[in-house]
Amino acid sequence: MKTFKMGGVHPEENKISNDAAIEVMPVPAQMVVLMNQHLGAPATPIVQKGDKVKVGQLIGEAQAFMCANVHSPVSGTVLKVEPCKDAFGLAKPAVYINVEGDEWMETIDRTPDIKRECTLEPKQIVDKLKEMGIVGLGGATFPAHIKYNVPEGKKAEYLIINAAECEPYLTSDYRVMMEHAEEVCIGVSILRKALGVPNAYIGIESNKPQAIAKMQDMAKQFEGIVVEPLKVKYPQGAEKQLINAVTGRKVPSGKLPIDVGCVVSNLGTAFAVYEAIQKNKPLIENILTVTGKKLPSQHNCLVRIGTTYNDIIKHTIGVLPATTGKVISGGTMMGKAVVNLDAPTVKGNSSVLVMDENEARRNPETACIRCGKCMHACPMGLEPYMFSVLVKNNRIEEAKEHNILDCIECGCCFFSCPANKPLTDEIRLGKNKVRAMMAAKK
């Protein structure tokens, strides 16, 4: 079975919400839509206080190069346009909407029919991705229209769809595959067409045999879609590792996947692309996993983007257990700890993961015993223990020489460290310092 060549760990999988079918969450009474839900500059709000908006109406326009459109996920009246604190407590520009009814834009096809044919030219597809505000849903929220607009002189040879879902706990991609296999395959075909590549590969970790069977079945009906079972190993779904597993190629340091002829998208993105291109539906809904070992029930739910964490919790599990120690947006390995549960969710959120106080606490740090486990776990072949020392002593130049910027922050080093050293934190700090140093030099 295919896998990436070096490093990696195998955390407890905990896919306990696997069997919870996707449920639709009701629309909350008030909605806050953040303007930067993607990598890059925030979108510019184009509505004002008192404006009426419909579901799917453009409310934030992408004006910078690295930016994506933002659409209203609800219908109603704009209350105000002012900053709102995001999940980490930092103020971000936002549009507040008072929800009235559920009136959709007329252009959006809300029928359940599946539409297979796509007559658009590649250029038109990319333009439509931009119009619909599609971003990568694997976590990095990279605007899709930039990714699929292959620069002059470079050629895409592989389209790789990341359905590895190597993060513990997360099951939203699995549920999409189980319930929307056909739509996903259509979405993949569209992306394949946009890039003009002969084959698209869907990489799925082998701990999801049902999904693999289902997708293989469905892929037979489509031209050029190959389902690739992958070994269960974290970080199988990391862009560079996935390329390595599927094609054997390695993305050189500081380069992008397109430099080795690959484009990687998340499975959720493929589904969003289907809805955007075939149904004219902008990216206004997310599929979130609500899970946790100590929760009374497990859920996968379809929510309007902008629903607050508290609303989601209220509609799925009622209240957080009294012993809650941490709420994470994303998986346990790369997700972010949430401070502000009143914050709206954004594009790219994949879960609300509730950890118990015992699981959530980090053990105290002890002395490094130079066991080298971090080094053997590192999928990028780096030496995390050394970065720890260099960053602590502010030897930033040396950290750069040891390729600290290659780090993908997957967390394998901290995970495997017997001394509980916060290696990943230290490396992130070091990367920031290296970047600051490089910026200062320029």
Binding site: F88, G89, L90, R361, R362, D425, L429, N432
Partner: protein, 300 residues
């Protein structure tokens, strides 16, 4: 026996003489000509290499002094006026008198008690914590409490108060080198004039959020009401972005603003106030991203 001793002495003597000659010529050949004044200036500097002057170390500072032959734009904060006078004497130039300064922590000890909203469990580094969240009390401007300033201080002049989680400056030890201000990612620490008898007044908050939002975060947050600016007889107080700032060059320490402030964000220190604890000014903690706060450029 005598012969052996003699041989040993001669051989060793010859080797010694040979290397003496080699060393002499090498020393001649690679001699670095340097103004002896640099050594003399470096001698009177404190030698802590704190970098507060903006140079790479004390020697670099001495070189700069000698190179421009004046103290213009150069000031050794830890050395203060005494060192400046000595250097001026060596260089034969005029001395610039500077007001003695001290690092001031502009954040209320708010990372504790009912203000606490979360519990930080990661790397003890303010620079890193600032990239993860807003701070344990939810204030996106305030002290993060991980002690980057403490680590940055070379004079052991700043410590974390275990109870409040914010740093406290030891006024006697602080040399106003500015290392802590540079280390703080939130720029909570500012260098301010020490004031007559160490008495000074400052706004202990840098929260620029709107009053209502700021108040929810911290009961001592400046809400930008402007009462202090109105009451100030010397026009030393300005309110920008919902935040009052006292210009220490204009402030006469009359303390009218202190009593006027509805949220007690304005603090006076070292006044012999009745039943008021003398408070040390506090520098903050935090790691090292950016440059210092605007007011931290303190030499003048």
């Amino acid at each position: 026996m005598t012969q052996q001793i003699l041989i040993a002495v001669i051989v060793l003597g010859a080797i010694g003489a040979f290397f003496a000659v080699v060393l002499y010529f090498v020393a001649q050949k690679f001699k670095v000509v340097e103004d002896p004044l640099i050594d003399e200036v470096a001698e009177v500097l404190p030698g802590a290499n704190c970098g507060g002057c903006g140079k790479a170390g004390c020697r670099a500072f001495a070189e700069a002094c000698v190179a421009q032959h004046s103290l213009e734009g150069l000031r050794c904060a830890p050395g203060g006026d005494a060192v400046a006078a000595k250097i001026a004497e060596l260089l034969g130039c005029a001395v610039e008198q500077g007001e003695p300064q001290v690092a001031v922590v502009r954040c209320h000890p708010a990372n504790c008690g009912e203000n606490r909203r979360s519990n930080y469990d990661g790397l003890r580094s303010c620079a890193f914590a600032a990239t993860v969240y807003t701070g344990e009390n939810g204030c996106p401007f305030g002290c993060l409490g991980c002690g980057d300033c403490v680590a940055a201080c070379q004079f052991d002049a700043i410590h974390m108060d275990a109870e409040t989680g914010t740093p406290v400056v030891d006024e006697d030890k602080c040399t106003a080198c500015g290392a802590c201000a540079k280390a703080c990612p939130r720029r909570v620490i500012e260098l301010r004039n020490k004031g007559n008898k160490g008495r000074r007044v400052f706004v202990r908050c840098i929260n620029k959020e709107k009053g209502a939002v700021a108040m929810k975060t911290c009961k001592n947050a400046c809400i930008g009401c402007g009462k202090c600016a109105k009451v100030c007889p010397f026009e030393a107080i300005t309110v920008t972005d919902n935040l009052a700032y006292i210009d220490f060059t204009k402030c006469k320490a009359c303390r009218k603003c202190v009593t006027e402030c509805p949220v007690h964000a304005i603090t006076d220190v070292n006044f012999p106030a009745p039943a008021k604890k003398p408070e040390a000014p506090k520098p903050a903690e935090a790691p090292a991203p950016a440059t210092e706060a605007p007011a931290a450029q303190s030499n003048s």
